[in-house]
Structure formats: structure tokens, C-alpha cells
Amino acid sequence: MRSVCEPLVRVQAGDFDLATEARRLSDGRRDVGAIVSFTGLCRDDGGRLEALELEHYPGMAEAEIGRIAGEAAQRWPLSGLTVIHRFGRIAPGENIVLVVAASAHRRAAFEAADFLMDYLKSRAPFWKKEHAAGETEAGWVEAKDRDQEDMKRWKR
């Protein structure tokens, strides 16, 4: 049986650094042939959005991302996997989420990162509130059916 990598999961208010996280998965190794990363950023939606406020369920957020990351590590032959999700107030242009997957070959790394993001969006306990420019009342972002559909791609 192949060894299954131990994913690194962090839920934090502060920013992260993609280069640092990618290096962590290749440093001192000779077996890594591919690193795929996905960074989700806060966008201003054509100037409409002033900031996002991300609420999360402390404890469950880490546990649920850990379960999803663990499943990815079982499904694909990864040498390393890192998932970082921020919470709190995040302005347009700032980072929200990072997934870095490392493997001997590119296909596993691409697919694992894609899978992680699809599952994160629908299963990790985070909720976005939008602070729109010129509006005093902030509104909760509604979940999209599309996200549920995306998750079905991985059923087997």
C-alpha cells in the first residue's frame, strides 16, 4: 500500500504566502514532479463590493476541511497537500483561500486541487457577508446551485 500524505490545514484571520506554502511541499524532496495551487481572492464585483466578512464555525471548519483533504489524499497519490482558509474582514484584492497539492505527476495534483475547492465551497462551514459600497446594511451571499453541481463531478 502506498503511503498517504498528512494534509496541512489552517484556518486563520491573517494572510498567507503562496510561495512559502509551495516551497514547503517541495523543500528537501526529490520525488515531487508537480505542484498545483489555487488561490481564491476577494473581488469587488465591478466596484460594488467594499469588503467581505467571513464567518466560520471554529473547530468544525478545521475538522471538515481536514476530512475533505484526507479524502483527497486517499483518492490521489499526493506527496503533500495544504489548505488555508481565512476568516474575518477581507477587502477586494486580498486572499481568501489557498489549496496547494503536490504529486509526482501533474494529473493527480490538478485533480486533487479541483476536488478540494468544489468540496470546500459546499461543505466547509464558512459564510460570506457582503459589505457593498454606499449601503449600510450588509447582505449574506446566497449559496449557488452551481456549487452543488460542481461537487457531483467527483461522485463515483
Binding site: Y57, M60, V97, P125
Partner: protein, 85 residues
């Protein structure tokens, strides 16, 4: 049965509490029972839970469906569909 309930996002805002401890009657056995029972507790609960089918539930920090039996102890969280990532 004493149970800790935790609320998030608009469920928390509409109920007006981040969490509370409740004493459940013996006939409240499943998540669906709990949602029905909570709705009777006041207008704020009724507003928060008016569409029970959209409410997501976690039992001891793991996703559960509405048919799931309530645990003997621990925490139950109620929240809207998630929008992270």
C-alpha cells in the same frame, strides 16, 4: 435532555443569539423534531426557521441530515448553506 445549540450567519442574526443551552422534551428525537420544536419558541425562531429545508445541521461538528437522531450529549449547530471558498 440538555443540549447546546449554536447558530451561524443569518440563522444567528434572526434568532438573535450565537448559542444557547436548551432542555428538550423527550419526544424531540431527531433533527427535524428539533427544528419543529424550536419554531414554536417565538417569532424570531419562526423567522429563522421558516424554510426548514434550507437549514443545514451539524451534530458534534459533523454534517448531519434532518432525519438524524439527536445525540445524548454534545452540540448541535444550525446554519444556512455554506458559502466559503
Amino acid at each position: 435532555m440538555t443540549m447546546k445549540l449554536i447558530y451561524f450567519a443569518w440563522v444567528r442574526e434572526r434568532i438573535g443569539l450565537p448559542e444557547e443551552t436548551v432542555d428538550l422534551p423527550a419526544d424531540v428525537k431527531t433533527v427535524a423534531d428539533l427544528l419543529n420544536w424550536l419554531k414554536e419558541r417565538g417569532e424570531n425562531y419562526e423567522t429563522a426557521l421558516e424554510r426548514p429545508e434550507v437549514i443545514r445541521v451539524a451534530i458534534n461538528q459533523e454534517h448531519a441530515d434532518h432525519a438524524a437522531p439527536l445525540p445524548a450529549k454534545g452540540e448541535i449547530a444550525l446554519f444556512p448553506p455554506m458559502t466559503g471558498g
